[in-house]
């Protein structure tokens, strides 16, 4: 019996495999990529048409509710149980079904993350609400994050719709410029999701979903807002097209009563008088002017100036500075359009305190 391995075949194959064998841990994404389309397992009739659509945006904090997560509220929790995640998702779905938006813009949604028990939250929400279609773009996709036990992660933004979604793109936003190379490699890569909703009674209706940088200390967010406005301008230039652009901009409106949240965000273990990255907006007060000047906000700036707190969408409970009963202390979440909002149709859903660290914002848009 004689076994001979042919080295003329074996060596080239081996060399080829070695060359191919350095898989990157992190997906760095192209500037523009196709977004991932989803479909509910229970499609319901989506032929109904209306003159107005209810649009809602919500940062759902990856189904973590108000657990004391290490990354954003001075907590020590990292990996949730499956039961915790499904309980939080059930509460989110229940609220969504109460409000019944026609199109929902989501931020911080996990599809394959260890921290949220690897539940595909988009598919879960599609299957537990009346939405038929979804589109997802990741902004943090790594086989392994070697920090705090995070492990595998795939988190991003999503758009859920009653109607079919087409032309869905993931548009990369500028990366944070204030991080070292290693941190930046493993860190979030923010993006915009741009998609066309195939409404039965209106052509050229677009949705832009964004989640801008949270803790940057340079002009990263300003650059990201410029990118968003650029995409909005492109749609505006399409004859007859209207869009809704929204999401978590991690920025306060121009003219806010308070611009510094160092006291509110400081963790008990921090140095007294220290300020966490991203807590001081004092030098960023003008950064949303272009968006407000060019497009219509679901919450008009005048209304906001008349009563800031009524429109607050974010708040964490880190210290005694923040009142547990009224944790909202800043507005970070927005909806804009080049069309028309139904007057006084906006709502900032501050009753959702236990469901996320962000409150959803909704408003009706005229589509006919």
């Amino acid at each position: 019996m004689r076994f001979v391995l042919n080295e003329k075949i074996f060596l080239p194959i081996l060399l080829l495999l070695i060359l191919c064998s350095c898989e990157p841990l992190v997906n760095k994404f192209d500037d523009i990529e196709d977004a991932v389309l989803y479909k509910s397992n229970n499609i319901v009739d989506s032929q109904y048409s209306a003159d107005t659509l209810l649009i809602m945006t919500w940062n759902i904090r990856f189904g973590a509710g108000r657990i004391h997560w290490f990354g954003d509220c001075c907590g020590d929790r990292v990996i949730m149980t499956e039961q915790e995640v499904t309980t939080h998702l059930e509460e989110l779905a229940e609220y969504i079904c109460q409000v019944k938006p026609d199109i929902l813009l989501l931020q911080e949604i996990d599809i394959e993350s260890k921290r949220s028990a690897y539940i595909d939250q988009i598919q879960w929400l599609l299957d537990h609400t009346y939405f038929n279609y979804g589109v997802y773009a990741s902004m943090w996709q790594s086989q392994f994050i070697p920090s705090d036990g995070l492990g595998r992660i795939d988190m991003g933004g999503a758009i859920l719709s009653r109607w079919k979604i087409s032309d869905a793109e993931r548009i990369a936003l500028p990366l944070r410029g204030d991080q070292d190379a290693l941190t930046q490699y493993f860190y979030l890569r923010r993006c915009i999701i741009k998609a066309k909703i195939e409404l039965p009674n209106r052509a050229d209706f677009y949705v832009l979903d964004i989640h801008a940088s949270a803790f940057s200390t340079d002009d990263t967010k300003k650059n990201q807002f410029d990118c968003l406005k650029g995409e909005m301008d492109k749609i505006k230039d399409i004859q007859g097209a209207i869009f809704v652009a929204g999401g978590d901009l991690n920025e306060i409106p121009p003219g806010s009563d308070s611009t510094n949240y160092c006291d509110e965000d400081r963790c008990p273990e921090d140095e007294p008088n220290s300020c966490r990255d991203g807590s001081d907006f004092t030098n960023e007060q003008e950064w949303l002017n272009d968006l407000y000047d060019s497009y219509k906000s679901a919450v008009p700036l005048d209304n906001y100036h008349a009563d800031n707190s009524h429109y607050f969408t974010h708040g964490v409970v880190n210290t005694d500075v923040v009142n547990n009963d009224s944790p909202w202390n800043r507005k970070l979440d927005y909806l804009f359009t080049n069309g028309d909002w139904v007057a006084d149709s906006d709502s900032t859903h501050q009753s959702t305190y236990k469901l996320s660290d962000h409150a959803p914002v909704s408003a009706k848009i005229v589509v006919k």
Binding site: L5, E7, C20, F70, S147
Partner: protein, 262 residues
């Protein structure tokens, strides 16, 4: 603190790479042969091995021993119909390493919210090797690993990476089995090759199956030095689903002969 972090990262990387070389070229211990008495072999990433007698070999990873104490003994038994028969027994105590990588910050591999209990595992393997002419070895192996823990290990502590996940799975379910087949031989007087497949089964787990295959080209610089490079292909079931990985392999091994006492 930064120096300590680097040390932790080095230990974890060593653990990862050392696991990628569980079975080695015929120059060393991938077969049912034991090292000759007095011969010691050591690799950059692999275990140090020593032939105590012509039929008994001891091995351990000297650097990893500081945080993941481990010891292997390999005993050659009789030959059956030209097949060499050997058993291999390994004891591993992973608790110190897992406790160190369970931490806050940029080097935390496991979330610090979990307690890591005391754990120990015992792997027992049977190896059968037959040599065919001109220079071709085939080795079959099968093993059973048993583990005990002082308390239940939370399932959220899994490290969901190739190579590591199936090897730590035994601490969650108490037992695991593995099978493998190695073939190796000479390409020419200077170069040899090794290719193998290993299958890991975790009968008590939802993530039940892992498959590993590696191929190595080994440059036999001399009887005391060899350099190997190749790849490892891994398919496995993880808590998130299944995934293929292709990983590079590289190692350098040295050998030393100690004088035999007359």
């Amino acid at each position: 603190m930064k120096a300590m972090k680097k040390i932790y990262v080095i230990f974890f990387t060593l653990f990862f790479i050392a696991c990628a070389f569980p079975m080695n070229a015929q120059w060393s211990s991938g077969t049912a042969y034991t090292l000759p008495k007095g011969r010691m072999e050591v690799g950059l990433f692999q275990q140090i091995r020593y032939g105590q007698t012509e039929t008994r070999e001891w091995s351990t990873h000297p650097i990893l021993d500081l945080l993941i104490p481990n010891l292997t003994v390999k005993k050659a038994w009789n030959t059956f119909a030209d097949w060499n028969f050997t058993t291999r027994h390994n004891m591993t105590y992973p608790t110190p390493l897992l406790r160190i990588i369970s931490r806050k910050g940029t080097d935390g591999i496991i979330s610090p919210e979990f307690d890591i209990p005391q754990m120990i595992s015992l792997r027992n393997e049977v190896l059968l090797t037959r040599k065919f002419k001109p220079s071709f070895l085939i080795t079959g192996k099968a093993g059973l690993t048993l583990a005990v823990t002082s308390d239940e290990l939370d399932e959220r502590t899994t490290i969901d990476l190739p190579i590591i996940f199936p090897r730590l799975g035994v601490y969650y379910d108490g037992y695991a089995v593995n099978f493998g087949l190695d073939v190796g031989g000479d390409l020419n007087p200077r170069f040899s090759y090794l290719t193998d497949v290993d299958i890991f089964l975790l009968p008590g787990a939802d993530e039940y199956f892992a498959f590993e295959h590696k191929s190595l080209i080994i440059w036999n610089k001399s009887k005391k030095l060899q350099i190997m490079f190749g790849y490892k292909l891994v398919y496995g079931e993880y808590p998130f689903g299944t995934q293929w990985h292709l990983l590079p392999l590289f190692d350098i091994q040295w050998a030393r002969e100690f004088k035999k006492k007359k």
